[in-house]
Amino acid sequence: MNSITYLEAIRAAQERALEEDSRVFIYGQDVGAFGGAFKATKNLAHQFPGRVIDAPISEDAMIGMAIGAAIEGMRPIIEMQFADFSLCAFNQIVNHAATLFYRTEVPCPLVVRLPCGGTPGSGPFHSQSLEAIYAHFPGLVVMTPATVEDVYTMLLEAIEIDDPVIFCEHKFLYYHLKAEALPTTALPVGKARITRPGRDATIVTYSAMLHEALVAAEELRKDGYEIEVVDLRSVKPLDTNTILASVARTGRILVVSEAFPWGGVAAEVIAHVSSEGFGLLDAPPQRLNSKDTPVPYHPLLWGTHRPTASTIISALHRLLKL
């Protein structure tokens, strides 16, 4: 293979899981012969007859079905057409799937694939980043892969994990992000990655914002700053060890997330760092989120609503002067 997109890696991971594990099946709207709204299941219904199944427009029932199947020992993958529609299944996810193991000691191994995040023109209902609200509920694992390699290995691991996994894919990365080949090794879920080592400040981020952060870090190199960039990979569990070790090196932290500001990943990371790593900090920890409004439709508004390399650069400059 010459160049594999983030989306293709998702397809390939599902293909491999279907091939290697007879407990795996895929359920979602238009995932069958049509191959899914984003083509993440392209050809899979043909390759694995009867195991890639079209669902009605019934998100609540889709998750309910997955719970029952998971109890019976299957490994269902549920594709939501957009992350935003998973909110119609919120009750089944957070009250039924997430509590099952705690209550009954029977595992509930299912994966909910959420096409997340903003793209220009997608507007309030096709752009949301929902990792924070799922992570708030006990019993869920929430993954937020930022690279082609991670989306592949983490999806495979998500399928293997005995717990319900909320798998946040970023639509902005679907086509743009490419890699040469699929990875053969993987960092386990629960470990963050230092994507770019640095010295002067740490950016903690994940998903599409990783790439904005890397651009910003590169830009600051021109001014002589070495910015360390930590990719969380999963927001629950959160790898506080890696974060704290990075802050120990740099003394400064900026957390960047595309999600709404109130109580999200950025708040959680900062709460950990300031409680557990207070002495490591040379400056107040900072965060950068989207604005506190629905995600606007117009590309010009959208470009201002979410953090970008340029707003990250400004935030870093402020942080470095604090």
């Binding site: 019934s58 079905m65 997955a66 299957m74 997430a98 009954t104 694992v141 569990p237």
Partner: protein, 342 residues
């Protein structure tokens, strides 16, 4: 759709198998009733915390589903299904352990009362949010089909109020699309908490929904054990035979408050005096005395026997340890390496 006006019970006195089933079902109903009476006492004396929802008046319907379920089937009972649970194989020991918060119960104090089950044994543990179990059981049935298992049955129960949830609608629709071997029993006890049918739906009878889902529908007299056994036999057989979901609509009255604290004053006198208001347990007992050559003594002996078991089990369970917070793992994940230490 089956004839929705089935009302008259088979003349089972002619049929010893049916008769045997009736007797078995009666005994389970009696156990459920006596067990719940004990639970009420325990609740009043402060030994049970949390809500106590009684199946009083609904035992015939509940047991009639339970007796047709087999090992390997999936059963997701609801709040008023003590009789069905016993019929499916639940022991009174586990019931009492859960209600009394024993750490030896299947829920180990983490959940309680009606929210109990053993999902690995096909006995699902309801969550409170009404409607969600329909799709969960459907998913289990889909899993069995994907694995090539046949002859499995899934069953769940819901109230008249529960049919108004989006979750119920989505679940039953999906089951119908997949033509799954599912029986959904709707106990229309005329009220959802205090809310009468007239404020819950506008169709003439909930049976009218069957056509719209494209599933078989049955109407049954919910306090007539014979009728319940007959109709549930048809419905469970049809589902098992591959005819897709079967929707059973029972009319009855709840002969208790919604929960322990409710005096159900909203139930009208006319309803109480109507045939709906008759006690299924008494009706079944009368029938046994009338048609089964059972004697008062015999039936009273069962009563004593069951009560003795309930009493001794209660005594035993009251001595069992409560869960110990210090021993708790305080993790909600099954995957060990993802469990964050505090």
């Amino acid at each position: 759709m089956e004839d929705p006006t089935l009302q008259n019970t088979e003349d089972w006195t002619e049929d010893s198998k049916a008769q045997h089933l009736y007797v078995k079902a009666y005994r389970i109903m009696l156990t459920a009733r006596l067990l719940e009476e004990k639970l009420s006492v325990l609740k009043r004396s402060g030994k049970i915390v949390g809500g106590l929802f009684l199946g009083r008046g609904q035992e015939a319907l509940s047991v009639a589903l339970g007796v047709y379920l087999r090992r390997g089937d999936i059963y997701a009972p609801l709040i008023r299904d003590q009789a069905g649970r016993l019929a499916f194989g639940e022991g009174i020991l586990d019931v009492l352990r859960t209600y009394l918060g024993s750490s030896l119960g299947s829920m180990r104090g983490r959940d309680g009362n009606v929210h109990r089950g053993r999902p690995k044994e096909g006995y699902y543990a309801m969550i409170s949010h009404l409607g969600v179990m329909v799709s969960a059981v459907s998913g289990a049935l889909m899993a069995r089909r994907l694995r090539g298992e046949h002859g499995v049955l899934g069953a769940t129960c819901i109230g008249d109020g529960g049919t108004s949830t989006g979750s119920f609608h989505e679940g039953l629709n999906v089951a119908a699309v997949e033509k799954l071997p599912l029986v959904v029993v709707v106990a229309n006890n005329q009220y959802a908490y205090s809310t009468p049918n007239s404020r819950q739906f506008a169709c003439n009878h909930l049976i009218d929904r069957a056509l719209g889902y494209g599933v078989a529908g049955y109407r049954v007299c919910g306090n007539d054990l014979g009728d319940c056994l007959k109709v549930l036999h048809q419905a469970t057989s049809a589902a098992r035979a591959g005819h897709g979901p079967q929707l059973v609509l029972a009319d009855l009255l709840r002969l208790a408050g919604h929960a322990d604290h409710d005096d159900a004053r909203y139930v009208t006198d006319a309803q109480k005096a109507s045939p709906l208001g008759r006690d299924c347990l008494l009706l079944a007992r009368e029938k046994l005395l009338r048609e089964n050559n059972s004697t008062e003594e015999e039936l009273n002996e069962w009563y004593e026997e069951i009560n003795r078991e309930i009493e001794s089990t209660t005594t035993r369970v009251l001595r069992e340890p409560a869960p110990d917070p210090q021993e708790e793992r305080w993790s909600s994940l099954a995957t060990n390496y993802l469990h964050a230490e505090e």
